[in-house]
Amino acid sequence: MNNVNWRLLTTHLVLILGMLFMSLPVWVAFATSTHSAETILREGLQLWPGAHFVETYRQVLFVEGGVMKSVLGTTMLKNSLILGIGFAIGKVIISMLAAYAIVYFRFRLASFLFWVIFMTLLLPLEVRIIPSYEVVSSLGLLDTHVGLIVPLIASATGTFFFRQFFRSVPDELLEAAKLDGATAWQFFKDILVPLSRTMIAAILIIMFVVGWNQYLWPLIMTTKEENYTLVIGIKQIYQILAEGGELPQYQKAFALTILATLPPVLVVLVFQNWFVKGLVESEK
């Protein structure tokens, strides 16, 4: 009996240490963000929240020049939301349509086009950074939402996910729909989409997080400060801190990391079950 208890105790101990390892840095970042620059400079990182929460976050979110040169925190927040939501929705639409064509139609180029979609897995942005920038620039899409979102949504993961799911839908549904004289579009809209609701929700959650966290692409294609997302703001604040100055605004840097973290973390926490489902299924 004694033996069993020891085992249970170490199990909990390992888990608690793991929890601390994963959570403490973020907690410290939050606690430190609520102290004044002077305190941080004098005492270092903080473990408990201070009295400057409202002041720091007001500065970062609403005051011009509070954190970046001109752009407000709220503007960056808005840009991040547009990217996250636009990316998620765009990806769902585009991949559902493509998966539908590939699974439900017999057409000559089907397998060839499937391979074209597959090719995207071989060409992550990192291996084609500069020519991609040139394409977007020559199309006049730099610093636009379209240029930011559209090139990101075409990768194959979403299409594979829905292809897998559509294949598991019983054939009888289509047979019945055909008997009733449904058109291809009607079958898609009235039967397949409602049937995929859970799948759509799961993939939306994952893709919102993925979109929100994009870094390299927004980095190279936004030049104007007003188009920065929060994650890009991180790079700028790194620059500002690296350049130094009389009193480094560490509390604002920490506040920015918290703001960039909070929305995707909330989404993951609130929709935890869908999130896990979406992640595990879409990566398979």
């Binding site: 390992v14 888990l15 349509l97 064509a101 090719m119 071989l122 500069i130 840097a253 993951v268 896990v276």
Partner: protein, 292 residues
């Protein structure tokens, strides 16, 4: 595919068109450009270009800087993969054992997934800041002459730590779902046959998790190669002296800062080959899993 399908000549093309068009414009065309440019040499003013065969490859790939980055990327990927998988497996096995607090543990261990690599990078960077960073002070206090701005080993330590921290949660989620997929009957039978939990883990549970582990290895190597760009860019930026340059970070540096198109393209093409190899590995494994 399906037994029953629609027979149409044009409608399916309409449905795939959006994705295919985007792929051609933003994936295939730029990739072709990269391959094309990797064979070209441009003069300093961009006025004339000439076809130089594999000279860019020879000049960049065989340069000490590239080889150094390749070496670092390999070690970095191996460490990040091994450490984050090991840690995640340990935590997943423990989280799968407990009943009390299971949900809390699970949630707190997985939510870091949602943090972007550059955000994790900046947080870590500040923790190791010489002026305010307590980790920096702590490491120096315990007698480690720690300075990640000057010492290559210390700088690598910082990026590996942050990259592992960021990746544990994904691995944890997959391992936990893998563990929960092992049928109870199997575990009960194992418990009857073998009393040592450690031995049970290595002879029953771990082999059953092999497909998950293998799949995660590919995911983690890909992550370490590509997605850690944001971490490097907000911590060491390759310092000191290129000791923490990953291959992706170097492509970015050479292409945008250095404006060396040919050389950067040649590096891109090499990266494409690496992705190709990783993808082949992944799909061969997935086929195995289907039969298994």
């Amino acid at each position: 595919m399906k037994r029953v399908q629609f027979e149409h000549s044009s409608i399916p093309y309409l449905f795939v068109a959006p994705q295919i068009i985007i792929i051609v414009v933003f994936f295939l065309w730029p990739a072709a450009q990269a391959i094309h440019q990797s064979f070209l040499l441009e003069d300093a003013f961009g006025l004339s270009t000439q076809f130089v065969w594999f000279r860019n490859y020879k000049d960049t790939i065989l340069s000490t800087a590239w080889l150094q980055a390749a070496g670092f990327t390999l070690i970095f990927s191996a460490l990040v993969t091994f450490l984050s998988l090991g840690l995640a497996l340990l935590l997943a096995v423990k989280a799968n054992e407990v009943i009390r607090g299971a949900r809390t543990y699970k949630t707190t261990l997985m939510w870091a997934y949602a943090i972007a690599p550059p955000v994790a990078g900046l947080m870590g960077n500040l923790m190791f800041n010489p002026i305010i960073g307590d980790l920096y002070k702590f490491l120096n206090a315990i007698g480690w002459d720690f300075d990640h701005k000057l010492d290559a080993f210390d700088a690598s330590f910082v990026v590996v730590l942050i990259a592992v921290w960021k990746q544990v949660s994904v691995n944890f989620i997959f391992f936990l779902s893998g563990l929960q997929g092992i049928p109870h009957s199997v575990q009960e039978a194992a418990t009857m046959d073998c009393r040592s939990p450690t031995r049970r883990f290595w002879t029953i549970t771990f082999p059953l998790l092999a497909p998950t582990t293998f799949f995660l290895m590919v995911i983690n190597i890909t992550y370490a190669f590509f997605e850690t760009f944001g971490i490097i860019d907000t911590t060491t930026r390759g310092a000191p002296g290129g000791a923490t340059n990953t291959l992706v970070f170097k492509v970015f540096q050479d292409g945008f800062r250095g404006a060396d198109l040919g050389g950067s393209s040649a590096q891109s093409v090499v990266l494409m080959l690496i992705v190709l190899a990783l993808t082949v590995l992944q799909f061969r494994f997935i086929e195995r899993k289907v039969h298994y």
